[in-house]
């Protein structure tokens, strides 16, 4: 509750009138309070994300599928939940998200070959379910195998369609700014009652 600092001009009518009326009436203290509220929400969101990174062991515990190379299991826009526990062995059949050295874009494909040495050194090959050939063409020049260090995580769960929002925001930056503006306006202007 904004204790005692808000009051209504008697007789002002209409929601729009109220909104602009509020803006005019908002004194500095109230504004700082709202900004702090907003900062708290952002910090909490960041903390939750960092917490997820710690708990799952993956640098990016939630990823969006960008291509159709794993259809019909996953489509563009699906959301994947990853874990990357150090002791989890990489085995054939698992769906892994990996990054090719030097490239930023993570790829979601399935492990089809594994060769593991006694000392724990693993090298493996991947292939998209919907692709005809394995991923050697995607790897770095001269690279024939992936290693544990290339793995971002293993897909453990998934939600369809939800990731589409991120793809739209990427492809249409105006949409992203509009969304941020609306969210910012809402948080700054909403009144606690």
């Amino acid at each position: 509750r904004a204790a005692g600092l808000w009051f209504r001009w008697p007789g002002s009518g209409g929601a729009a009138m109220d909104l602009f009326g509020d803006l005019r009436r908002m004194n500095k203290r109230q504004l700082y309070y709202q900004v702090l509220n907003f900062a708290m929400i952002v910090s909490s969101a960041l903390m939750i994300w960092k917490g997820l990174i710690v708990v799952t062991g993956s640098e990016s515990p939630i990823v969006v599928v960008l291509s159709g190379s794993m259809e019909p299991a996953f489509h563009r826009g699906d959301l994947l939940f990853l874990t990357n526990f150090h002791d989890d062995p990489i085995r054939a059949g698992e769906i892994v998200v990996f990054k090719v050295e030097g490239r930023d874009i993570p790829i979601v494909h399935r492990v089809i070959k594994v060769h593991e040495k006694g000392n724990g050194n693993i090298k493996f090959l991947t292939k998209g379910d919907n692709n005809e050939v394995d991923d050697r063409g995607l790897y770095k020049e001269g690279q024939n195998w992936l290693e544990k260090k290339d793995v971002v995580g293993r897909a453990r769960g998934f939600l369809p369609y939800v990731g589409m929002v991120t793809i739209i925001m990427n492809d249409y930056p105006k949409f992203k700014y509009a969304l941020l503006a609306v969210m910012g306006a809402y948080v700054l202007l909403k009144r606690e009652s």
Partner: protein, 144 residues
């Protein structure tokens, strides 16, 4: 689950290449509370099954090797019973080295990835596996 296999290795410059033909007779079941039902595996939240036959073995070079020989996507509504004969491996069975020649213990297992409409993605290994020995010599005359 039964598999009958016939196999041989061919000489390649650097690594052994294995050739395997197999039959698969399988019922993909889901065990719930001790009762087996055929159609249970495709419940309301299962979109598809990604089946794959993998060969697992040990060599001098590597303590553990796993190679997927064949895979199949089984969509909701498909018959969960497999009756395949004389299948050839879909993917080249290359070893990382020369560990197939004379290797007596290659284990073939059928596993599947359950892809739900939404939720967890479990990997299930079928019960029943077949052990396949590779012969001690390379075959140069057999065609595949």
């Amino acid at each position: 689950l039964r598999k009958n296999v016939e196999d041989f290795t061919g000489p390649r410059e650097r690594s052994d290449l294995g050739f395997v033909t197999f039959d698969i007779t399988a019922d993909i079941l889901n065990r719930k509370n001790g009762l087996q039902t055929f159609w249970d595996i495709f419940d309301w939240n299962v979109k598809q099954l990604f089946l794959y036959l993998s060969a697992e073995y040990s060599t001098k070079n590597n303590a553990l090797n796993q190679v997927v020989l064949w895979d199949k996507i089984m969509l909701r509504g498909d018959n969960p019973r497999l009756f395949l004969k004389d299948m050839k491996s879909k993917y080249f069975f290359f070893d990382d080295g020369n560990g197939l020649k004379g290797n007596r213990n290659i284990t073939l297992t059928l596993s599947w990835n359950v892809v739900p409409n939404a939720g967890i993605l479990p990997l299930v290994t079928g019960s029943g596996h077949v052990s396949v020995p590779f012969p001690d010599t390379y075959e140069t005359t057999k065609s595949y």
